[in-house]
Subunit: 176 residues, 2 copies
Amino acid sequence: MKPVNPASTIRILGIDTALRTTGYGLIDANGSRLRAVDAGVIRTTAKFPFSECLRRLVGGVRELVKLHAPDVVAIEGAFYCRNVRTSMVLGAARGAVIATVAELDLPMYEYAPRRVKQAVCGYGNASKPQVALLVAQILAISVANLGDDSTDALALAICHAHALQARGGLDLPAPL
Amino acid sequence: MKPVNPASTIRILGIDTALRTTGYGLIDANGSRLRAVDAGVIRTTAKFPFSECLRRLVGGVRELVKLHAPDVVAIEGAFYCRNVRTSMVLGAARGAVIATVAELDLPMYEYAPRRVKQAVCGYGNASKPQVALLVAQILAISVANLGDDSTDALALAICHAHALQARGGLDLPAPL
Protein backbone atom coordinates (compact mmCIF):
# COMPACT_ATOMS: atom_id res chain seq x y z
CA MET A 1 0.00 0.00 0.00
CA LYS A 2 1.27 3.44 -0.88
CA PRO A 3 1.30 5.77 2.12
CA VAL A 4 -1.38 8.47 2.01
CA ASN A 5 0.16 11.78 3.03
CA PRO A 6 -2.42 14.58 3.27
CA ALA A 7 0.33 17.22 2.99
CA SER A 8 1.11 16.54 -0.68
CA THR A 9 -0.98 16.07 -3.80
CA ILE A 10 -3.08 12.93 -3.78
CA ARG A 11 -4.60 11.51 -6.92
CA ILE A 12 -8.02 10.03 -6.21
CA LEU A 13 -9.85 7.68 -8.58
CA GLY A 14 -13.60 7.60 -7.99
CA ILE A 15 -15.44 4.59 -9.46
CA ASP A 16 -19.22 4.36 -9.69
CA THR A 17 -19.53 0.66 -10.41
CA ALA A 18 -22.24 -1.00 -12.49
CA LEU A 19 -22.31 -3.90 -14.94
CA ARG A 20 -23.20 -1.87 -18.05
CA THR A 21 -21.89 1.67 -17.47
CA THR A 22 -19.22 2.21 -14.84
CA GLY A 23 -18.36 5.88 -14.32
CA TYR A 24 -14.86 6.99 -13.34
CA GLY A 25 -13.50 10.34 -12.24
CA LEU A 26 -9.93 11.27 -11.33
CA ILE A 27 -9.00 14.33 -9.30
CA ASP A 28 -5.78 15.67 -7.79
CA ALA A 29 -6.29 16.90 -4.23
CA ASN A 30 -3.78 19.16 -2.52
CA GLY A 31 -5.34 20.13 0.77
CA SER A 32 -8.57 21.85 -0.17
CA ARG A 33 -7.43 22.57 -3.75
CA LEU A 34 -9.02 20.06 -6.13
CA ARG A 35 -8.28 19.65 -9.82
CA ALA A 36 -10.11 17.41 -12.31
CA VAL A 37 -7.76 15.06 -14.20
CA ASP A 38 -10.03 12.76 -16.21
CA ALA A 39 -13.55 11.39 -16.29
CA GLY A 40 -15.46 8.93 -18.42
CA VAL A 41 -17.17 5.58 -18.49
CA ILE A 42 -16.26 1.94 -18.99
CA ARG A 43 -19.07 0.39 -21.02
CA THR A 44 -20.04 -3.21 -21.61
CA THR A 45 -22.95 -4.43 -23.72
CA ALA A 46 -25.53 -7.17 -23.29
CA LYS A 47 -24.13 -8.70 -26.51
CA PHE A 48 -21.28 -10.22 -24.50
CA PRO A 49 -21.52 -13.04 -21.96
CA PHE A 50 -21.52 -12.01 -18.28
CA SER A 51 -17.92 -13.18 -17.74
CA GLU A 52 -16.70 -11.13 -20.71
CA CYS A 53 -18.45 -8.01 -19.35
CA LEU A 54 -16.68 -8.45 -16.01
CA ARG A 55 -13.35 -9.07 -17.80
CA ARG A 56 -13.75 -5.83 -19.78
CA LEU A 57 -14.75 -3.92 -16.65
CA VAL A 58 -11.67 -4.99 -14.68
CA GLY A 59 -9.50 -4.57 -17.79
CA GLY A 60 -10.72 -0.96 -17.97
CA VAL A 61 -9.89 -0.37 -14.32
CA ARG A 62 -6.40 -1.85 -14.81
CA GLU A 63 -5.81 0.49 -17.78
CA LEU A 64 -6.96 3.54 -15.82
CA VAL A 65 -4.62 2.70 -12.95
CA LYS A 66 -1.71 2.13 -15.36
CA LEU A 67 -2.40 5.39 -17.22
CA HIS A 68 -3.07 7.71 -14.28
CA ALA A 69 -1.34 6.03 -11.31
CA PRO A 70 -3.90 7.04 -8.66
CA ASP A 71 -2.87 6.91 -4.96
CA VAL A 72 -6.24 5.79 -3.70
CA VAL A 73 -9.62 4.60 -4.97
CA ALA A 74 -13.07 5.69 -3.74
CA ILE A 75 -16.09 3.54 -4.61
CA GLU A 76 -19.78 3.73 -3.88
CA GLY A 77 -20.77 1.83 -0.74
CA ALA A 78 -23.22 -1.02 -0.72
CA PHE A 79 -26.76 0.28 -0.76
CA TYR A 80 -30.31 -0.86 -0.92
CA CYS A 81 -31.41 -2.59 -4.11
CA ARG A 82 -35.01 -3.41 -4.87
CA ASN A 83 -34.35 -7.03 -5.70
CA VAL A 84 -31.96 -9.85 -4.98
CA ARG A 85 -31.19 -10.52 -8.66
CA THR A 86 -30.07 -6.89 -9.23
CA SER A 87 -27.96 -6.90 -6.09
CA MET A 88 -26.23 -10.15 -7.18
CA VAL A 89 -25.29 -8.55 -10.53
CA LEU A 90 -24.26 -5.22 -9.01
CA GLY A 91 -22.42 -7.08 -6.25
CA ALA A 92 -20.53 -9.07 -8.91
CA ALA A 93 -19.39 -5.90 -10.69
CA ARG A 94 -18.32 -4.32 -7.38
CA GLY A 95 -16.54 -7.50 -6.25
CA ALA A 96 -14.64 -7.78 -9.52
CA VAL A 97 -13.50 -4.14 -9.25
CA ILE A 98 -12.61 -4.39 -5.55
CA ALA A 99 -10.53 -7.56 -6.08
CA THR A 100 -8.71 -5.92 -9.01
CA VAL A 101 -7.91 -2.73 -7.07
CA ALA A 102 -6.74 -4.87 -4.12
CA GLU A 103 -4.46 -6.90 -6.42
CA LEU A 104 -2.99 -3.59 -7.64
CA ASP A 105 -2.16 -2.78 -3.99
CA LEU A 106 -4.16 0.44 -3.92
CA PRO A 107 -5.98 1.50 -0.74
CA MET A 108 -9.73 1.74 -1.21
CA TYR A 109 -12.53 3.53 0.61
CA GLU A 110 -16.27 3.27 0.19
CA TYR A 111 -18.85 5.99 0.71
CA ALA A 112 -22.63 5.65 0.84
CA PRO A 113 -24.54 7.75 -1.73
CA ARG A 114 -26.00 9.93 1.09
CA ARG A 115 -22.53 10.73 2.40
CA VAL A 116 -21.29 11.66 -1.10
CA LYS A 117 -24.23 14.06 -1.58
CA GLN A 118 -23.64 15.47 1.91
CA ALA A 119 -19.94 16.09 1.12
CA VAL A 120 -20.59 17.66 -2.30
CA CYS A 121 -23.89 19.51 -1.78
CA GLY A 122 -24.15 19.87 1.98
CA TYR A 123 -27.21 17.64 2.30
CA GLY A 124 -27.81 13.96 1.74
CA ASN A 125 -30.97 14.18 -0.36
CA ALA A 126 -29.54 16.33 -3.16
CA SER A 127 -30.84 15.57 -6.66
CA LYS A 128 -28.65 14.44 -9.59
CA PRO A 129 -28.72 17.93 -11.22
CA GLN A 130 -27.72 19.51 -7.88
CA VAL A 131 -24.78 17.09 -7.54
CA ALA A 132 -23.73 17.86 -11.14
CA LEU A 133 -23.94 21.62 -10.49
CA LEU A 134 -21.77 21.43 -7.38
CA VAL A 135 -19.24 19.03 -8.95
CA ALA A 136 -18.86 21.56 -11.80
CA GLN A 137 -18.47 24.44 -9.33
CA ILE A 138 -16.00 22.66 -7.00
CA LEU A 139 -13.76 21.49 -9.86
CA ALA A 140 -14.36 24.58 -12.03
CA ILE A 141 -15.24 22.43 -15.04
CA SER A 142 -18.23 22.05 -17.32
CA VAL A 143 -20.09 18.81 -16.70
CA ALA A 144 -22.57 19.43 -19.55
CA ASN A 145 -20.98 16.67 -21.62
CA LEU A 146 -20.44 14.26 -18.73
CA GLY A 147 -23.03 11.58 -18.04
CA ASP A 148 -24.47 10.98 -14.57
CA ASP A 149 -22.10 8.06 -14.03
CA SER A 150 -18.94 10.12 -14.57
CA THR A 151 -20.32 12.99 -12.48
CA ASP A 152 -21.13 10.58 -9.65
CA ALA A 153 -17.60 9.16 -9.87
CA LEU A 154 -16.09 12.67 -9.61
CA ALA A 155 -18.41 13.29 -6.63
CA LEU A 156 -17.04 10.13 -4.98
CA ALA A 157 -13.47 11.39 -5.47
CA ILE A 158 -14.42 14.82 -4.04
CA CYS A 159 -16.07 13.10 -1.07
CA HIS A 160 -12.83 11.24 -0.31
CA ALA A 161 -10.81 14.45 -0.66
CA HIS A 162 -13.12 16.11 1.88
CA ALA A 163 -12.77 13.19 4.29
CA LEU A 164 -8.96 13.45 4.03
CA GLN A 165 -9.08 17.19 4.68
CA ALA A 166 -11.88 17.69 7.21
CA ARG A 167 -11.02 17.58 10.92
CA GLY A 168 -7.49 16.35 10.24
CA GLY A 169 -8.82 13.17 8.63
CA LEU A 170 -10.91 12.15 11.65
CA ASP A 171 -13.90 11.52 9.39
CA LEU A 172 -11.98 9.10 7.18
CA PRO A 173 -13.68 5.69 7.26
CA ALA A 174 -11.74 2.42 7.67
CA PRO A 175 -10.29 1.27 4.33
CA LEU A 176 -12.48 -1.23 2.51
CA MET B 1 -10.29 -20.02 -24.93
CA LYS B 2 -9.02 -23.58 -25.06
CA PRO B 3 -11.16 -25.81 -27.27
CA VAL B 4 -13.24 -28.32 -25.32
CA ASN B 5 -13.01 -31.70 -27.03
CA PRO B 6 -15.28 -34.31 -25.43
CA ALA B 7 -13.22 -37.14 -26.96
CA SER B 8 -10.13 -36.61 -24.78
CA THR B 9 -9.57 -36.06 -21.08
CA ILE B 10 -10.94 -32.77 -19.78
CA ARG B 11 -9.87 -31.32 -16.46
CA ILE B 12 -12.80 -29.59 -14.75
CA LEU B 13 -12.41 -27.19 -11.83
CA GLY B 14 -15.60 -26.84 -9.78
CA ILE B 15 -15.78 -23.77 -7.54
CA ASP B 16 -18.42 -23.29 -4.85
CA THR B 17 -17.92 -19.57 -4.20
CA ALA B 18 -18.44 -17.80 -0.88
CA LEU B 19 -16.68 -14.97 0.92
CA ARG B 20 -15.41 -17.03 3.88
CA THR B 21 -15.06 -20.61 2.66
CA THR B 22 -14.85 -21.26 -1.06
CA GLY B 23 -14.79 -24.95 -1.93
CA TYR B 24 -12.94 -26.27 -4.95
CA GLY B 25 -12.88 -29.68 -6.60
CA LEU B 26 -10.90 -30.85 -9.63
CA ILE B 27 -11.76 -33.91 -11.69
CA ASP B 28 -10.46 -35.42 -14.92
CA ALA B 29 -13.28 -36.53 -17.20
CA ASN B 30 -12.71 -38.92 -20.08
CA GLY B 31 -16.12 -39.68 -21.47
CA SER B 32 -18.02 -41.23 -18.59
CA ARG B 33 -14.84 -42.09 -16.66
CA LEU B 34 -14.27 -39.55 -13.88
CA ARG B 35 -11.22 -39.28 -11.63
CA ALA B 36 -10.80 -36.98 -8.61
CA VAL B 37 -7.63 -34.84 -8.83
CA ASP B 38 -7.82 -32.45 -5.89
CA ALA B 39 -10.30 -30.85 -3.52
CA GLY B 40 -10.13 -28.33 -0.72
CA VAL B 41 -11.13 -24.86 0.39
CA ILE B 42 -9.87 -21.29 0.06
CA ARG B 43 -10.51 -19.62 3.40
CA THR B 44 -10.60 -15.98 4.41
CA THR B 45 -11.27 -14.63 7.90
CA ALA B 46 -13.31 -11.69 9.21
CA LYS B 47 -10.00 -10.35 10.64
CA PHE B 48 -9.12 -8.98 7.20
CA PRO B 49 -10.81 -6.09 5.39
CA PHE B 50 -13.33 -7.02 2.68
CA SER B 51 -10.95 -6.08 -0.16
CA GLU B 52 -8.18 -8.27 1.30
CA CYS B 53 -10.59 -11.23 1.54
CA LEU B 54 -11.47 -10.84 -2.15
CA ARG B 55 -7.77 -10.49 -3.03
CA ARG B 56 -6.97 -13.73 -1.22
CA LEU B 57 -9.92 -15.49 -2.82
CA VAL B 58 -8.87 -14.58 -6.39
CA GLY B 59 -5.21 -15.23 -5.51
CA GLY B 60 -6.24 -18.74 -4.45
CA VAL B 61 -8.10 -19.30 -7.73
CA ARG B 62 -5.07 -18.07 -9.73
CA GLU B 63 -2.82 -20.52 -7.83
CA LEU B 64 -5.18 -23.44 -8.46
CA VAL B 65 -5.29 -22.69 -12.18
CA LYS B 66 -1.50 -22.36 -12.33
CA LEU B 67 -0.99 -25.62 -10.41
CA HIS B 68 -3.60 -27.82 -12.09
CA ALA B 69 -4.18 -26.18 -15.49
CA PRO B 70 -7.90 -26.96 -15.75
CA ASP B 71 -9.57 -26.81 -19.18
CA VAL B 72 -12.86 -25.43 -17.91
CA VAL B 73 -14.45 -24.04 -14.75
CA ALA B 74 -17.91 -24.86 -13.35
CA ILE B 75 -19.43 -22.55 -10.75
CA GLU B 76 -22.65 -22.47 -8.84
CA GLY B 77 -25.37 -20.45 -10.56
CA ALA B 78 -27.04 -17.43 -9.01
CA PHE B 79 -29.71 -18.52 -6.58
CA TYR B 80 -32.16 -17.14 -4.12
CA CYS B 81 -30.70 -15.43 -1.06
CA ARG B 82 -32.80 -14.43 1.91
CA ASN B 83 -31.56 -10.86 1.98
CA VAL B 84 -30.09 -8.19 -0.23
CA ARG B 85 -27.03 -7.64 1.97
CA THR B 86 -26.05 -11.34 1.76
CA SER B 87 -26.57 -11.39 -2.00
CA MET B 88 -24.35 -8.30 -2.41
CA VAL B 89 -21.52 -10.03 -0.49
CA LEU B 90 -21.98 -13.39 -2.23
CA GLY B 91 -22.33 -11.57 -5.56
CA ALA B 92 -19.03 -9.78 -4.89
CA ALA B 93 -17.21 -13.07 -4.23
CA ARG B 94 -18.72 -14.63 -7.40
CA GLY B 95 -17.94 -11.54 -9.49
CA ALA B 96 -14.32 -11.47 -8.32
CA VAL B 97 -13.89 -15.17 -9.19
CA ILE B 98 -15.69 -14.89 -12.57
CA ALA B 99 -13.57 -11.87 -13.62
CA THR B 100 -10.38 -13.71 -12.61
CA VAL B 101 -11.29 -16.88 -14.51
CA ALA B 102 -12.24 -14.76 -17.54
CA GLU B 103 -8.88 -12.94 -17.39
CA LEU B 104 -7.21 -16.37 -17.38
CA ASP B 105 -9.07 -17.15 -20.65
CA LEU B 106 -10.81 -20.23 -19.28
CA PRO B 107 -14.33 -21.10 -20.40
CA MET B 108 -16.83 -21.07 -17.57
CA TYR B 109 -20.26 -22.64 -17.02
CA GLU B 110 -22.75 -22.15 -14.22
CA TYR B 111 -25.19 -24.67 -12.82
CA ALA B 112 -28.06 -24.08 -10.42
CA PRO B 113 -27.91 -26.12 -7.17
CA ARG B 114 -31.00 -28.11 -8.25
CA ARG B 115 -29.36 -29.12 -11.52
CA VAL B 116 -26.18 -30.20 -9.70
CA LYS B 117 -28.21 -32.41 -7.34
CA GLN B 118 -30.16 -33.78 -10.29
CA ALA B 119 -26.94 -34.67 -12.13
CA VAL B 120 -25.26 -36.28 -9.12
CA CYS B 121 -28.18 -37.88 -7.25
CA GLY B 122 -30.89 -38.14 -9.90
CA TYR B 123 -33.26 -35.70 -8.15
CA GLY B 124 -33.05 -31.99 -7.43
CA ASN B 125 -34.04 -32.06 -3.76
CA ALA B 126 -31.26 -34.37 -2.56
CA SER B 127 -29.84 -33.60 0.91
CA LYS B 128 -26.19 -32.70 1.59
CA PRO B 129 -25.39 -36.21 2.94
CA GLN B 130 -26.98 -37.78 -0.16
CA VAL B 131 -24.85 -35.56 -2.43
CA ALA B 132 -21.73 -36.48 -0.44
CA LEU B 133 -22.56 -40.21 -0.67
CA LEU B 134 -23.01 -40.09 -4.44
CA VAL B 135 -19.91 -37.90 -5.01
CA ALA B 136 -17.91 -40.51 -3.07
CA GLN B 137 -19.45 -43.34 -5.10
CA ILE B 138 -19.05 -41.69 -8.53
CA LEU B 139 -15.40 -40.73 -7.92
CA ALA B 140 -14.60 -43.85 -5.82
CA ILE B 141 -13.12 -41.71 -3.05
CA SER B 142 -13.81 -41.18 0.63
CA VAL B 143 -15.39 -37.82 1.34
CA ALA B 144 -15.38 -38.34 5.12
CA ASN B 145 -12.64 -35.75 5.53
CA LEU B 146 -14.00 -33.33 2.97
CA GLY B 147 -16.18 -30.44 4.09
CA ASP B 148 -19.53 -29.67 2.46
CA ASP B 149 -17.92 -26.89 0.40
CA SER B 150 -15.35 -29.18 -1.24
CA THR B 151 -17.96 -31.89 -1.81
CA ASP B 152 -20.29 -29.36 -3.45
CA ALA B 153 -17.42 -28.17 -5.68
CA LEU B 154 -16.72 -31.78 -6.78
CA ALA B 155 -20.46 -32.18 -7.43
CA LEU B 156 -20.32 -29.08 -9.68
CA ALA B 157 -17.43 -30.57 -11.64
CA ILE B 158 -19.32 -33.89 -11.99
CA CYS B 159 -22.41 -31.98 -13.15
CA HIS B 160 -20.38 -30.34 -15.93
CA ALA B 161 -18.84 -33.69 -16.93
CA HIS B 162 -22.36 -35.14 -17.24
CA ALA B 163 -23.52 -32.17 -19.35
CA LEU B 164 -20.53 -32.70 -21.68
CA GLN B 165 -21.30 -36.39 -21.98
CA ALA B 166 -25.09 -36.64 -22.02
CA ARG B 167 -26.91 -36.48 -25.36
CA GLY B 168 -23.74 -35.53 -27.23
CA GLY B 169 -23.43 -32.32 -25.20
CA LEU B 170 -26.93 -31.07 -26.12
CA ASP B 171 -27.63 -30.31 -22.45
CA LEU B 172 -24.57 -28.06 -22.13
CA PRO B 173 -25.67 -24.54 -21.15
CA ALA B 174 -24.27 -21.42 -22.85
CA PRO B 175 -20.91 -20.45 -21.34
CA LEU B 176 -21.17 -17.84 -18.59
